[in-house]
């Protein structure tokens, strides 16, 4: 299992997420080489076909590109574009489930705003 990821999503999506996180955090800088399919599959202990599927997802989206005979590299501008993507997904990924959970618990809008402000002050 890939460390730090949930088991809700298929493994290839977890591989894609692992790479996305590393690009966003700057661990894999733009124009640098990312680990090979062998390295990824060995390190995550998954079938290489699964690792390839995850990598291909990022290639299709233009975050990674292939240099023939050399391997996979992070595309220029990938970090900024990924951050934009994440902002777009923020509403569906965080706000909607937040509201659903609050509804389930009977929390008022005021309660929630108070908690968000409290949280922001601690950061």
């Amino acid at each position: 299992m890939i460390p730090g990821f949930d088991e809700e999503r298929p493994l290839f999506l977890q591989v894609a997420a692992l790479l996305e996180e590393a690009i966003l955090s700057g661990a894999y800088p733009e124009e640098s080489q990312v680990p090979s399919i062998t390295e990824l599959s060995v390190s995550c202990k998954i079938n290489p076909a699964t690792a390839l599927k995850g990598v291909n997802l990022l290639v299709e989206q233009g975050f990674l590109y292939k240099k023939r005979g050399l391997g996979m590299f992070v595309a220029g501008g990938a970090r900024e574009r990924l951050a934009q993507e994440r902002k777009k997904q923020f509403f569906a990924g965080y706000i909607e489930p937040l509201l659903a959970e609050a509804e389930k618990l009977g929390l008022s809008r005021e309660d929630m705003m108070e908690m968000i402000q409290k949280g922001a002050m601690r950061q």
Binding site: E7, L11, I37, V42, S43, K45, N47, P48, T50
Partner: protein, 283 residues
């Protein structure tokens, strides 16, 4: 490609295999899953001509494999049985293996033995269960055969050595694509490696499909018992368990896009699916 066509085998009153047909293609990692007595080892023994089938045949690239030395040299089986003389030491067994498998990389075998802490001077019969597994694993990883049949490869291995084994196996497969058949009870930890799952039950094939396809055709549902029961009505539940008023079930069919009101649905994992299937079969 190995083709198993309609293979049957009976031991006295027990029908160990009953009309089993399978294809093993290279490259691919196949998981052979089944409870004790399902017929897994019998199938592997027939593949390697250690046993003869009562009916049916096994072909390698279209050529019958029975007692066909050239074809059998393409296969390596890691099994529980030690086929070398009792007095043999690990080093001697490596040398003997080199005679049968010309592609055997003895230098790498020695390096891996050192990495696992396997003493080359030990007699094979004097090795502990764990080290006997390691001895077999080292052979399987270095023998250079295009078809590897691994019957419970991690028997008695500690967590660290199991981890090392899986990593070495994936490395081998990624760098030298081959056909690996992995027969194991430890489904959870082998699942991420398995590309194609074969589920054997009482000598028959119950499921035989790419793991991803298999798992996409089943989901879990949980929630208040009454709500789960009405969800299950008209569907095909595999197994269900209750914890007080909370009920959880495995259901055949793809997971719905949105969970029905008050229920939670989730993806199935290979081990959970296997157990659910076995419970359904034993009803």
């Amino acid at each position: 490609m190995i083709e198993i066509k309609n293979v049957s085998k009976r031991f006295g009153q027990v029908q160990a295999l009953d009309g089993v047909s399978l294809r093993l293609e290279s490259p691919g990692i196949y998981g052979l899953l089944g409870n004790n007595g399902a017929g897994k080892t019998t199938l592997l023994n027939i593949l390697t001509s250690r046993l003869h089938a009562d009916a049916g045949e096994v072909l390698l690239d279209g050529v019958p494999m029975v007692d066909n030395d050239a074809a059998l040299a393409q296969l390596f089986m890691l099994g529980e049985k030690n086929l070398y003389p009792d007095e043999m030491r690990v080093r001697q067994a490596f040398e003997a293996t080199a005679c049968f498998y010309p592609a055997f990389d003895i230098a790498r075998a020695k390096a891996l033995a050192a990495r696992f802490g396997l003493n080359m001077k030990s007699k094979i019969t004097a090795l502990s269960t764990g080290y006997r597994s390691i001895y077999r694993i080292v052979l399987a990883l270095t023998v250079g055969a295009p078809y590897l049949l691994l019957d419970e490869p991690v028997l008695g291995l500690d967590a660290q050595h199991r981890d090392l084994f899986y990593k070495l196996l994936i490395e081998l497969y990624a760098e030298h694509p081959c056909c690996i058949l992995l027969s194991t009870h430890l489904i959870q930890e082998a699942a991420p490696l398995i590309g194609h799952a074969i589920i054997l039950h009482q000598g028959r094939i119950l499921r035989n499909a790419p793991a991803e396809e298999l798992l996409a055709a089943v989901h879990t549902v949980s929630g208040p018992a009454a709500a789960v029961d009405s969800y299950l009505a008209g569907r095909r539940p595999l197994s269900a368990s209750s914890l007080g008023g909370l009920k959880t079930a495995y259901v055949e069919g793809p997971r719905p896009q949105a969970a029905p009101q008050g229920l939670e649905t989730g993806p199935a994992d290979l081990q959970g699916y296997f157990i659910a299937l076995m419970e359904e079969e034993s009803k």
